[in-house]
């Protein structure tokens, strides 16, 4: 068992430290995300999954994100909060890597963790991530776009044109998705290997622990218990109350408008056909028209009466007969069905 642990390969070492460190720091980072969102300092684009991954993996993305954002022009959102968030993530990640590193060194590697382990692990991970992640980004983007266009052109051939749309979508997705996922996985493992290789020196320089397994477990278990539990509880409760008050005081009362960069495509629906409204409108129009017809008939009857009266009065009386007034135009709204 001990030999297995001591002969841990670099990719296992990288994964074993980074994976728990990602999740250890995330809850604290999410609190700041929420606060910045309610203050309107952060606006995420449609690729929220990518933004989540970037934040989750901030020990390795912290230096890579500016390169990816400015160098490769791939944004995750807008607002000063994003830069602030990744700055705040630095101390959180150093703490998380320290907690995870100490546990990992004692339990899995049976070695004494050094002083300042969190900081050492952080700068090594951030450096590897800063160089390797933009390369991974470029490689995966290129592979994905090439795979999509290749598979798409394959299905444009006469032989495969007959494949129905639903089947075509799924087969295309499986084909280019397998290639893209394969490359992504391969490069991710390579990334973990690089991190493991880079922090291998820190592991080598650590002294072997002398206690037995039970003793080591008790040590790392007690390491996670704060020295002053009452103070810790009071500080946590106080922090939670302050953050909750800040959140509720900054929460917009009405739906916040999205930033220009992050407007969602509008889902359009055909103007609704409302049978009751249409019937009501038609009824109104008919009533209006009936009133107009009635008015016209009345005018005509009056004119005829005036005509018959003036018959015996000669030519002068003829001039007095007026043409009935033109009917009032029907309002455009009433004409619509």
């Amino acid at each position: 068992m001990t030999n297995e642990r001591e002969s841990m390969c670099p990719s296992q070492l990288g994964l074993g430290i980074l994976w728990p460190a990602f999740w250890t720091g995330l809850p604290i980072k999410l609190v700041f995300v929420l606060l910045f969102l309610s203050l309107g300092m952060v606006h995420f684009e449609t690729r929220i999954g990518l933004a989540f991954l970037m934040l989750l993996a901030s020990p390795v993305t912290v230096f890579a994100l500016p390169t990816i954002t400015f160098g490769l022009e791939s944004h995750i959102g807008e607002g000063v909060g994003i830069a602030l968030l990744f700055l705040l993530a630095i101390p959180i990640d150093i703490w998380a890597l320290g907690v995870v590193g100490r546990t990992f060194f004692l339990e899995r590697l049976k070695r004494e963790p050094q002083e300042g382990l969190g900081l050492t692990l952080w700068w090594k991970c951030a450096l590897v991530g800063g160089i390797f992640l933009p390369i991974l980004w470029l490689a995966v983007s290129f592979t994905t776009s090439t795979a999509i266009s290749t598979v798409h052109s394959l299905f444009e051939t006469d032989l495969l044109k007959v494949v129905p749309v639903a089947e075509k979508i799924s087969i295309e997705l499986v084909l280019w998705g397998t290639v893209a996922t394969g490359v992504l996985l391969l490069l991710t493992v390579a990334g973990f290997w690089l991190v493991g290789k880079f922090i291998g020196g820190t592991v080598e320089s650590a002294r072997p622990a002398s206690e037995n397994y039970q003793g080591l477990i008790t040590r790392w278990d007690l390491m996670r218990v704060p020295a002053d539990q009452g103070l810790m509880l009071a500080a946590l409760t106080g922090g939670a109350v302050v953050l909750s008050l800040l959140f509720w005081s900054s929460l917009p009362v009405f739906t916040p408008h999205p930033h220009e960069c992050c407007k969602k495509p509008e889902v359009k629906a055909e103007p609704a056909f409302k049978p009751l409204d249409t019937l009501n409108k038609d009824e109104k129009m008919l009533a209006q028209l009936a009133v107009q017809v009635e008015a016209l008939e009345k005018q005509q009857a009056e004119a005829q009466a005036a005509n018959s009266k003036s018959k015996g009065k000669g030519q002068a009386g003829k001039d007095a007969v007026k043409t009935p007034a033109a009917p009032a135009p029907v309002p455009p709204d009433a004409k619509k069905p």
């Binding site: 995330l26 609190v31 969102l37 749309v165 639903a166 997705l173 929460l251 009362v253 055909e270 609704a272």
Partner: protein
């Protein structure tokens, strides 16, 4: 006259209240039983999903009750009252958006919880009943999503329900009855809304509370399964009580999920489409995202026609659910390590990959419809 000497350890008011309740209902014993449960192999993040699900349900109940203060469950006013909540009620947009994304989080956590139990082999003897009740709870969560989707009474709600009820109609023998019962008429209308509302706010919460209680009782009776690998020495060294470490992990898990739901409510607040009408217009009806894979599956040519639709919509999902229910009775091998159960591992990967592929395909398929 004798006086009791005053001591510094005199009970505070809180302690007196606790003692008062304890004398009557045995509170301290109950708390000890609840909190001092040994967790074999120690606390783990993988165990937080059950508690997180309970938390999401409580939050859904709270936000749901607050929404009901304004929502009017009639075909004439459902849409207008939802718009009123979104645009006029203070923080109404946040409540409704939280409730909407909370339902999504519940489905995600149910999938995660079921996957964890499956991969850990925690459905095996003596935990078969926990698994079966869990499956029923899964059905209830899906029912919540389905019935709640209609309530805003916009085009999306109306047509998703129409599609869903049509799929149910294909069930042999009882399908026609279920469809007629849910719709309450030839097309979705007031009766449909009333029935979905009652099921959503009365029937399903009551069923969920009862079954969740039973699930917890069975879980406490059988005890936690613990990790599927590790030497007895390791397990013994790491075994811990439920309080405080697992509770701490559960609290962190709940806070994380709460923050994620709030962030999603900010990222995409609920926006309604046009009011529901029997004319879909340009809108292409589709169900909620967690049913999209099934919807896309039904678009495949092999599932066209009356028989194909029945096989795709009812027979396959029904057979899959029956297989899940029978799983503890088929798989009697006590081995729990997932890496030593290749069929289970491959099966899980295939199902997850199929759900993912068909869900993404359904999203891509939208481009062909627009």
């Amino acid at each position: 006259m004798s006086h009791t000497p005053s001591t510094n350890t005199e009970a505070t008011i809180v302690e007196k209240v606790i003692d008062f309740v304890d004398e009557r209902i045995g509170l301290k014993l109950l708390a000890a039983k609840m909190l001092n449960e040994p967790v074999p192999g120690g606390s783990r993040w993988a165990y937080v999903f059950g508690s997180v699900l309970l938390f999401i349900f409580i939050m859904q109940a709270i936000t749901g009750v607050l929404l009901m203060f304004y929502y009017v469950p009639t075909a004439d006013h459902a849409y207008a009252s939802t718009q009123y909540i979104l645009h006029d009620v203070d923080y109404g947009w946040f409540l409704l958006s939280y409730h909407f994304w909370g339902s999504t989080a519940m489905v995600v956590c149910v999938f995660a919880h079921m996957s964890q139990v499956f991969l850990w082999g925690a459905y095996k003897k003596p935990r078969e009943l926990i698994w079966l009740v869990g499956l029923a709870l899964f059905g209830i969560v899906m029912g919540f999503g389905f019935t709640g989707y209609l309530l805003p009474w916009d085009q999306r709600a109306y047509w998703a329900t129409t599609v869903g009820v049509e799929i149910m109609d294909k069930t042999p023998v009882i399908g026609d009855f279920i469809a007629r019962f849910l719709k309450g008429g030839a097309t979705p209308g007031q009766m449909t809304l009333s029935r979905f509302f009652v099921i959503h706010v009365m029937v399903l919460p009551a069923a969920l509370m009862g079954l969740a209680g039973l699930h917890l009782f069975l879980f406490r009776s059988a005890g936690p399964a613990g990790p599927f690998r590790g030497t007895p020495e390791e397990l013994k060294a790491k075994t811990d009580y439920f309080f405080p470490r697992q509770i701490w992990k559960d609290i962190v898990g709940m806070a994380t999920v709460f923050a994620c739901i709030c962030a999603l409510a900010f990222w995409e607040p609920v926006v309604l489409l046009e009011e529901a009408t029997p004319d879909p217009g340009d809108y292409h009806p589709e169900p909620e995202w967690y049913f999209l894979f099934l919807f896309q599956l039904l678009r495949l040519k092999m599932f066209s026609g009356e028989l194909g639709q029945f096989v795709g919509a009812m027979a396959l999902p029904g057979a899959f659910m029956a297989l899940l229910a029978a799983l503890p009775f088929i798989d009697k091998d006590p081995e729990r390590n997932i890496f030593k159960r290749p069929i289970a591992l491959i099966g899980w990967v295939v199902v997850m990959a199929a759900i993912l592929i068909f869900t993404i395909s359904a999203i891509i398929n939208r481009e062909f419809l627009d």
